[in-house]
């Protein structure tokens, strides 16, 4: 979770034990999984669910419309919220797509900016540092606004006008903070490789470029995977922000659905339902991140 963790963990501690807060969290998360797979817990969950369904149906009867239980309403709107309107790209699927593309773009750019941060050229180093700090310290929503307004709505290539859909611009805007944070991760990982590696490679006659790409970076990958996965989770959690700028993502469509129903008792279930999807998507990734982190801290 903490990009500095490899620095903090690697200190000699005369007074305190090491500070690493993902390791034991993984054990506790595992306890949770065990706890929820427990027979008694499963029984309680099933009982609560049945009770809820019963109350739900009874309440709909009282309201005089037995076809409008909360469960039925959720099922009715789920295809729209998940896949977007028919023949259109949107919904929760769009959130995931945006997170994939933004992560790919951010990783690619972040790798170069990160390498730039350890460049022997002073100008490149300063410029990469400034880019990193600028995008790392500005709020995601401000960046989103900035690029939604700044980038053109249409482009003309070879005399043909193409419309740029809002979500592509949003994806680009979201990839920038990812770029900056990955740049820091790349820089930290490169700096964490002992200088002996550089020196021995030099003595074997490797050029600087060869050392970086064939010796240093392959060793960095292992250290970069856990924070990289962590940033993917953070990015996925930030994708609903694009709904503020009018992209038809899961959040926007949920609000449309709520507006269409106009019944206040649907508010809590609908929002919880949407949050559940994000949770189901993100929680396993978080667990795997912790597992990787634990495995790698032991071996290094």
């Amino acid at each position: 979770m903490n990009p500095l963790s490899h620095i903090i963990n690697s200190t000699d501690l005369p007074v305190m034990k090491p500070f690493n807060y993902t390791v034991s969290a993984a054990l506790q998360a595992r306890d949770i999984v065990k706890f929820s797979l427990n027979k008694r817990t499963a029984l309680v969950l099933i009982l609560v669910l049945t009770a809820w369904l019963g109350i739900d149906a009874a309440y709909a009867q009282v309201q005089g419309d037995p076809n409008q239980t909360i469960l039925q309403t959720l099922i009715k709107w789920t295809p729209l919220m998940f896949f977007g309107p028919p023949n259109e790209f949107g919904g929760f699927v769009l959130n995931i797509t945006v997170s994939f593309i933004a992560m790919a773009m951010g990783t690619f750019m972040g790798l170069w900016v990160g390498i730039g941060q350890v460049s022997p050229n002073k100008i490149i180093r300063r410029a990469s540092w400034l880019t990193t700090q600028l995008f790392r310290n500005s709020p995601w929503l401000v960046l989103l606004f900035y690029f939604m307004f700044l980038l053109p709505y249409t482009v003309e290539i070879g005399g043909i006008r193409y419309d740029i859909p809002g979500w592509i611009k949003a994806t680009f805007a979201l990839s920038l903070p990812i770029m900056a944070n990955l740049s820091e991760i790349v820089r930290g990982a490169i700096n964490s490789i002992p200088t002996g590696q550089w020196e021995s490679a030099q003595s074997l006659g490797f050029t600087r470029r060869q050392i970086l790409w064939q010796i240093i970076l392959p060793q960095c990958i292992k250290r970069m995977i856990p924070p990289w996965m962590n940033w993917y989770c953070i990015l996925t959690m930030a994708t609903p922000l694009i709904s503020i700028l009018g992209v038809n993502d899961g959040m926007t469509l949920t609000q449309h659905a709520l507006a269409a129903e106009a019944r206040s008792e649907f508010l809590i279930p609908m929002y919880l339902w949407l949050m559940t999807w994000f949770f189901i998507y993100s929680y396993p990734i978080a667990l795997y991140t912790q597992r990787f982190e634990r495995r790698f801290t032991i071996t290094t």
Binding site: P14, V15, F19, N137, P139, M237, I268
Partner: protein, 241 residues
């Protein structure tokens, strides 16, 4: 002031916040709201973190399960949806139960609640890791001196843990300040929201966007500077670099 008027007349750069009385007033109010909101949520999230870390050490498994469930829920769902959930769903639900007309808290209040819970979930984990970094022998010495469980937490564990936590806490609090912009979505009049109003009135989107960007970088930079100073002044000798 004249210089900004000249800038507008000569170059078309329209920074109304520097010469228009009304725009300047509301913009400063917006910045103040951002600072205020950040401060309140930082304090509340730290309180939640301290209490949560205490509960995680509890002897009862169900208390630990609830805390863990809270952490995982708030970490793995988007903060924007959490905010909507509190502001739209919880507000309607609670005011329905207590029969209060017009909602329980305003948008500002719900933004504080939602953001504090969001950042608090991360803080609990950070503080727990800090508490676990305190050696058993220190705690045992405190027990032998006759401290109670609460006293050990308050006077021995927490002050030590706090110092080890600071770098991680620092990151999280910076993240929290950046997340306060999300309050825009429920019309809390913070910097971004006010800037949006101004550029809708004055048609100076690009100028205001740049100003907002600079303002946030200054606010975040100030917190970074403050926390680094604090980190240095409370450093444990021999620990860390």
């Amino acid at each position: 002031m004249d210089w900004f008027l000249w800038l507008h007349a000569e170059h078309g750069i329209k920074l109304t916040i520097f010469y228009d009385h009304w725009d300047r007033g509301r913009f400063i109010k917006g910045i103040w709201t951002t600072i205020h909101l950040s401060f309140v949520t930082i304090v509340l999230s730290i309180v939640i973190g301290i209490i949560g870390a205490w509960f995680q050490k509890s002897r009862f498994i169900w208390i630990r399960t609830i805390v863990q469930g809270y952490i995982q829920f708030f970490r793995n769902t988007p903060p924007l949806i959490q905010l909507y959930f509190f502001y739209f769903a919880m507000d309607t639900f609670l005011s329905g139960i207590f029969n209060i007309h017009g909602g329980i808290l305003g948008s500002y209040g719900w933004a504080v609640v939602s953001l504090s819970f969001f950042a608090g979930a991360f803080n609990v984990e950070i503080f727990r890791a800090g508490v676990e970094a305190v050696p058993e022998s220190t705690v045992e010495s405190a027990i032998s001196l006759g401290y109670s469980r609460r006293q050990i937490y308050q006077y021995v564990t927490l002050p030590l843990a706090f110092r080890v936590c600071l770098p991680a806490l620092n990151n999280n609090l910076i993240n929290l300040i950046k997340t306060t912009t999300v309050a825009y979505a429920i019309a809390v009049p913070e910097t971004l929201y006010v800037a949006n109003q101004i550029w809708s009135d004055e048609y100076n989107v690009l100028e205001m966007m740049n100003v907002v960007w600079v303002i946030y970088i200054i606010i975040v930079g100030f917190l970074v500077w403050l926390m680094h100073r604090w980190e240095r002044s409370t450093r444990i000798p021999g620990f860390g670099q």
